[in-house]
């Protein structure tokens, strides 16, 4: 198993490199010269030449990549074109906010979806199952940016019980766990973001539970005289690794996929940062944010894989 773990770790390296190449290339698939975004439109030929040198654009592309990668590895993502600040500063602050949102959404989704999936899987084929499956379908079909708007309309505009946007009063951008108002701001983005994971985790749990229940060992447990509750415990134990893996995966997705929800609620996370970068064509911010989010996704996958290997006795042997 140690060999497998090491191999899996080694295997993540080329993937991470590939991801960095894609992110590096983003600047080059942008229309026009990458310099255009930096330079004023009426820049003189000399200025262009100078800036080119300063940014290393005069070197061959592989060399540029190597230089860029070296900087990235030391945490230098360049300067934001819009604000002039280091990308790293804004990025890591935003990252914390997104992580809070994603973690919360996954936890909420898991607690709801696991129960629903368990009940549906236990009563597979029955009316409860159909009801839950319907909810799950809506969960994965609903455009969450629309759901966010609908929630704003209901709770902020019509009922006026929750704040429509932001993270806290006075445009706060750091979450304070001791302030109730921050939680009120968190509520709607959290629920909105948890819709897709609710759908997916419910489906997974339902399928896993129904499958485990169909296995012969459950029949044996019944024959041994175990109560239905005890049997359910066995079933949960068997279905859990698969469900947790999907949950972990969803966390990765939410980290990188919260852009729409964050935009609606102006939640000061990476998604909001990305949106701003797109609107202002701030390529360094775009590049850095996407690189970090993709790396988090790669790392999440890696961790899930390794945990699964350690938990699953069948995988352990090989």
């Amino acid at each position: 198993m140690t060999a497998y773990i090491l191999r899996r770790l080694l295997y993540a390296i080329p993937i991470a490199l590939g991801v960095s190449i894609v992110c590096f290339a983003l600047v080059y698939i942008a229309p026009g010269d990458p310099l255009q975004t930096i330079l004023p439109e009426d820049a003189s030929a000399e200025t262009i030449e100078m800036v080119k040198k300063a940014y290393g654009f005069d070197k061959p592309i592989p060399v540029q990549y190597a230089i860029w990668l070296g900087k990235v590895l030391t945490g230098d993502f360049g300067l934001s074109i819009a604000t002039g600040r280091a990308v790293t500063d804004d990025l890591f602050k935003a990252l914390g906010n997104t992580m809070l949102l994603a973690t919360g959404a996954v936890v909420v989704a898991f607690s709801l979806a696991f129960v629903m999936g368990l009940v549906a899987g236990y009563h597979a084929g029955g009316p409860i199952d159909r009801g839950v499956t319907g909810i799950a379908v809506i969960g994965v079909s609903i455009p969450n940016y629309w759901l966010g708007i609908v929630m704003v309309i209901i709770f902020a505009v019509e009922l006026n019980v929750l704040p429509a946007t932001g993270m806290g009063p006075r445009g706060s951008d750091t979450f304070n766990f001791w302030e109730w108002d921050h939680f009120r701001h968190l509520l709607m983005p959290l629920v909105t973001l948890s819709m897709i994971p609710i759908g997916i985790i419910t489906r997974t749990t339902r399928a896993a539970v129904a499958e485990v229940l169909n296995q012969d060992f459950v029949e044996t447990l019944r024959a041994k005289g175990l109560s239905e509750f005890e049997i359910l415990l066995h079933v949960v134990k068997n279905a859990m690794p698969q469900v947790l893996a999907v949950m972990g995966l969803q966390f990765g997705y939410l980290m990188g996929g919260s852009i729409l929800v964050e935009t609606i609620f102006t939640w000061p996370g990476t998604g909001f940062l990305l949106n701003k970068a797109i609107l202002t064509r701030d390529l360094p911010v775009l590049q850095g944010t996407i690189l970090i989010l993709a790396m988090i996704f790669v790392a999440t996958n890696l961790v899930i894989d390794l945990l699964q290997t350690m938990v699953d006795p069948r995988l352990k042997r090989s």
């Binding site: 079909s141 505009v157 775009l286």
Partner: protein, 300 residues
């Protein structure tokens, strides 16, 4: 010699076989679908949605681009505006019908292209194996390492907005998963003896893929790509919502949702309408895909 072949048991094998009506796999799928009323219903809905988009010019009561300063943000049922008007006073119903054309195109076309490109790549990788497989699949893994919306946003964010860029980025999002599905299905089939037997006849690779592989992997690939349509519609509208897909004044569900968002305090109900179209379309495609999956008996 005949008496050697025709032992009594053989004769029974010849004569005793009941005359059954033989159905091909696809006929079977069709047969199962015919009695799956839920899927049929949602399939009909999908067709209806597509038709209403195609015939938008005939169905739309008004010009979707015709703005009017005095009729801005009117509620549902105001004068002739069945679903009200938007922030420029344009008829929302007409814009929704026209918007379906762009939203559906942006949702379906990338999946179609990705199915062909990703499917072919996956089949080749799965069938040829070895180094070819490694090169294709490792490249795919890199793109797979991005959450789908992030990759779409990254590519169209860098390339700039517009329908073509949006569709291009969505295509790139869907190629990797389809390639994986095709590769898995193909490498499973490839190791079965009938492929070996086909090779033993001296058949060439392309002939084997066309005759023996394709029929066996098309099911899983189609089921998977059908399930991607709903995702693609959501992503496409999402891109437009972010201002990356469709550019104004083109009508598109996601873009409409975005521009109407500024009016939630004035006319909240109208603001939510374009989202309903996205939701219904996405649910219909999802359920049709689920029905297809069970009819084709595919486990993904």
């Amino acid at each position: 010699m005949a008496n050697i072949t025709m032992s009594p048991a053989d004769a029974a094998a010849v004569q005793g076989a009941p005359s059954v009506r033989v159905r091909s796999y696809w006929q079977n799928v069709g047969y199962r679908l015919r009695y799956d009323y839920l899927t049929l219903f949602f399939g009909a809905m999908v067709i209806l949605i597509i038709l209403s988009a195609i015939f938008a010019p005939l169905l739309a009561p008004m010009d979707p681009y015709q703005s009017s300063l005095i009729n801005r943000l009117k509620p549902i049922g105001y004068k002739d505006f069945l679903l009200g008007t938007d922030e420029l006073g344009r008829d929302i119903l007409s814009r929704m019908l026209y918007g379906g054309r762009i939203s559906l195109t942006m949702g379906i076309v990338p999946v179609l292209i990705a199915t062909i490109v990703g499917g072919s790549l996956g089949i080749v990788a799965g069938f040829v194996g070895g180094r070819t497989n490694m090169i294709i699949m490792r490249t795919v893994d890199v793109f797979y390492a991005f959450p789908s919306i992030l990759l779409a946003v990254a590519i169209s964010g860098a390339m700039g907005g517009g329908i073509v860029n949006g569709m291009l980025s969505l295509t790139l999002v869907f190629i990797p998963p389809l390639c994986r599905v095709a590769e898995t299905a193909t490498s499973q089939v490839r190791n079965l003896d009938f492929v070996e037997a086909a090779r033993a006849t001296g058949a060439r690779t392309l002939s084997i893929i066309r005759v023996h592989i394709l029929g066996n992997v098309l099911g899983p690939i189609l089921v998977y790509s059908s399930s991607m349509v709903s995702v693609s519609i959501l992503l496409a509208s999402g891109l437009s919502f972010l201002g990356l897909g469709v550019t104004p004044p083109e009508p598109d569900w996601g873009l409409m949702l975005n521009t109407l968002r500024q009016a939630i305090y004035i006319n909240p109900v109208v603001c939510a309408i374009p989202g309903v179209a996205i939701l219904i379309t996405s649910i219909c495609f999802n359920l049709v895909s689920d029905g297809l999956r069970s009819a084709m008996d595919v486990r993904l």
